[in-house]
């Protein structure tokens, strides 16, 4: 009797969860991750700035229903600060990774189409930028620009194009020897025409996936550089600022100051990572059989 029951319940269980093939589950994951990110952006617009105004009546409160992430020593709501900081990070991440993807696209295509000298130059340039540790390069650039969001965006854009450039260059080199490109060349089309009509369309998936996958790096580096004191100004609600401030209050046992903001940063980064990886699985024909 009991056996029959367990079998029945198992069957029911299976019926409730519809059978997903890989495509479905991948799409589901992408949707879920995108929803998290949309929630963060929407929440940052809905939450009012009053909640991060100084209010000494509410200072040093541990997490509660009214203040899910607690409050800091100035009575500012940590949840609001975190969400606003994260949406700022997301904006900076969009600009920075978009510009580095464009740099990668131009250099990668140029290296593969404009002849040997330019190719040597681009690989040399890639080596140059890979040679400096990212963080040191970021500090140098932030120092040059004088800190602020501009420094972070320029710094991240200047340091993250290298790996994608390599990928795009390899892809273009492969495409260039493809038959349809050879035929087009035989028919007297100009290199620029071929580049735009025959090569660029093939790079669109690489472009998007590269963009999404650069995102987590951009956000992490933005937070790191702000944490070190070179990035966004201390008056802005930024995760890096929140975490570096929380270091001063660490020994007092106010764990919520560092724990929740970092956790949400981690969730954001992971969400972007999972969107990028899953999109790659969907788009990239090389992974289709896996």
């Amino acid at each position: 009797m009991t056996e029959i029951l367990t079998v029945l319940s198992k069957k029911k269980f299976i019926n409730i969860l519809p059978k997903l093939n890989r495509r479905h589950s991948t799409l589901l994951r992408v949707t879920f991750s995108s929803l998290i990110l949309l929630c963060i952006i929407a929440a940052s617009m809905l939450l009012s700035n009053d909640r991060i105004a100084t209010n000494f009546d509410l200072k040093n409160l541990p997490p509660s229903m009214a203040h899910p992430f607690g409050t800091d020593w100035l009575g500012r709501d940590m949840f609001t600060r975190t969400i606003k900081g994260l949406s700022l990070s997301i904006y900076i991440g969009i600009i920075a990774s978009l510009s580095s993807v464009i740099i990668a696209l131009i250099l990668g295509m140029g290296a593969a189409t404009l002849g040997k000298a330019f190719d040597t130059f681009v690989t040399w340039l890639v080596d140059l930028f890979l040679g400096m540790p990212h963080l040191v390069a970021l500090i140098l650039i932030a120092f040059t620009v004088g800190g602020g969001a501009k420094g972070v965006i320029i710094g991240v854009a200047c340091t993250h194009w290298t790996s994608l450039t390599r990928v795009i260059r390899a892809e273009v080199l492969q495409l260039r020897s493809a038959e349809f490109v050879q035929i087009s060349r035989q028919m007297g089309k100009k290199p620029l025409w071929i580049a735009i009509h025959h090569i660029l369309p093939h790079l669109v998936p690489q472009f998007f996936i590269g963009f999404v996958l650069l995102f987590p790096h951009a956000i992490l580096h933005e937070a790191s550089i702000t944490f070190l004191g070179f990035g966004l100004s201390p008056h802005k609600p930024a995760i890096g600022v929140i975490l570096s401030e929380s270091m001063k209050y660490l020994s007092t046992g106010m764990w919520w100051l560092a724990f929740f903001p970092g956790l949400l940063l981690f969730v954001t980064v992971r969400a972007f990572d999972s969107i990028g990886e899953n999109l790659r699985l969907l788009f990239d024909p090389h992974n289709a059989h896996e």
């Binding site: 040679g131 004088g146 937070a223 790191s224 070190l228 981690f266």
Partner: protein, 330 residues
């Protein structure tokens, strides 16, 4: 075995590194000299009211800041070639001295993390690949992917909060105990202070190498000679030891050498969180307080560090991998 083409290749690599370093000198000097942060102002800092215009001019003259950038670059470049990197403004000692001292502290930290994460990551990768598809594999994969998106400094803060503040097992920061003379610091003190930052770096450093090794070993296990070995009745650990290990050890070592750039970046963050007096902390200080000679020196030194890592990786590949010994494929 080692023929002239090998030496030629190494020579070419070294020449390339030299050209990159020279370009780096130029670029970093150009960048730094265009900074809106005035080094004199940064140096004077809070004493602004007590330092007059005359004294500022004197400070500028003392550092040679009154000359035009091109002349300064030539002067600086000349002394760099002689091995003199100038004097650090905040530590008031030669830059090479500061870098040497700080780097030794960082080297201990990075070395521990490098070896620990290399070995652990390698073993985790092997276990995951041997049990491909099992729950252990899934856990290791999930762990590695998750760790790749964890901010290093947040992880450091968490460890600090749990292990130091809550349990009190480790000191909260610094390289040595506070209030103890430099001569009285014991090795045990130093070890006690290095564990947490090294642990932070190792935990995150594992991810890359584990995933890479796992993928390589899975590829190897799918090959025909493994199939043949299995057909002969070999399995498990013996199979791995005889046929798998040699194929995956080399890429792992190379990857580990090539990851020095990330390790350096991670150590900057870890040193900041644990206020460990290493090169990373000096970098941050140099940037925040406008110490140009030190910042330039560290940029060059860190680049040299990364380049040597990459060069070693290349050499190991060329020396050890029999498939590349022909010398024609680069």
């Amino acid at each position: 075995m080692i023929n002239t083409s090998f030496f030629k290749l190494i020579l070419m690599k070294i020449l390339r590194v030299l050209s990159l370093l020279m370009a780096l000198c130029f670029i970093s000097f150009f960048l730094v000299s265009h900074s809106p942060i005035d080094p004199v102002q940064a140096y004077v800092g809070a004493d602004m009211t007590r330092v007059g215009a005359e004294q500022r001019d004197q400070i500028a003259k003392h550092w040679g800041l009154d000359k035009p950038p091109v002349e300064r670059f030539l002067l600086w470049g000349k002394s760099i070639l002689k091995g003199d990197m100038g004097t650090s403004m905040i530590y008031r000692s030669p830059v090479s001295e500061v870098i040497k001292q700080r780097f030794l502290a960082s080297l201990a930290l990075m070395g521990i993390a490098w070896i620990l994460s290399g070995i652990l990551g390698f073993i985790m990768g092997i276990i995951a690949a041997m049990m491909n598809g099992s729950w252990i594999d899934k856990i290791i994969k999930w762990y590695s992917l998750t760790l790749a998106s964890t901010p290093t400094f947040w992880l450091g803060l968490l460890l600090l909060m749990v292990l130091s503040v809550k349990f009190g097992w480790f000191p909260i920061g610094m390289g040595v105990p506070a209030g103890v003379l430099a001569e009285e610091v014991t090795l045990a003190n130093r070890i006690n202070h290095i564990i947490l930052p090294a642990l932070t770096l190792s935990i995150t450093g594992v991810a890359n190498i584990a995933l890479h090794t796992r993928q390589k070993l899975i590829d190897v296990l799918e090959s025909d000679y493994i199939l043949y070995a299995r057909a002969k009745g070999e399995s498990g650990f013996k199979l791995l030891l005889r046929h798998g290990l040699r194929n995956i050890a080399l890429p792992a070592v190379t990857l580990q050498f090539a990851s020095l750039s990330e390790l350096f970046g991670g150590s900057v963050l870890a040193e900041q969180v644990f206020s460990y007096p290493g090169l990373g902390q000096a970098t941050v200080q140099a940037g925040l307080r406008g110490d140009l000679p030190l910042l330039l020196g560290i940029v060059l030194f860190s680049a040299l560090f990364v380049f040597s890592g990459n060069l070693i990786a290349d050499i190991i590949y060329k020396l050890v991998d029999p498939r590349l010994k022909e010398g024609k494929s680069i």
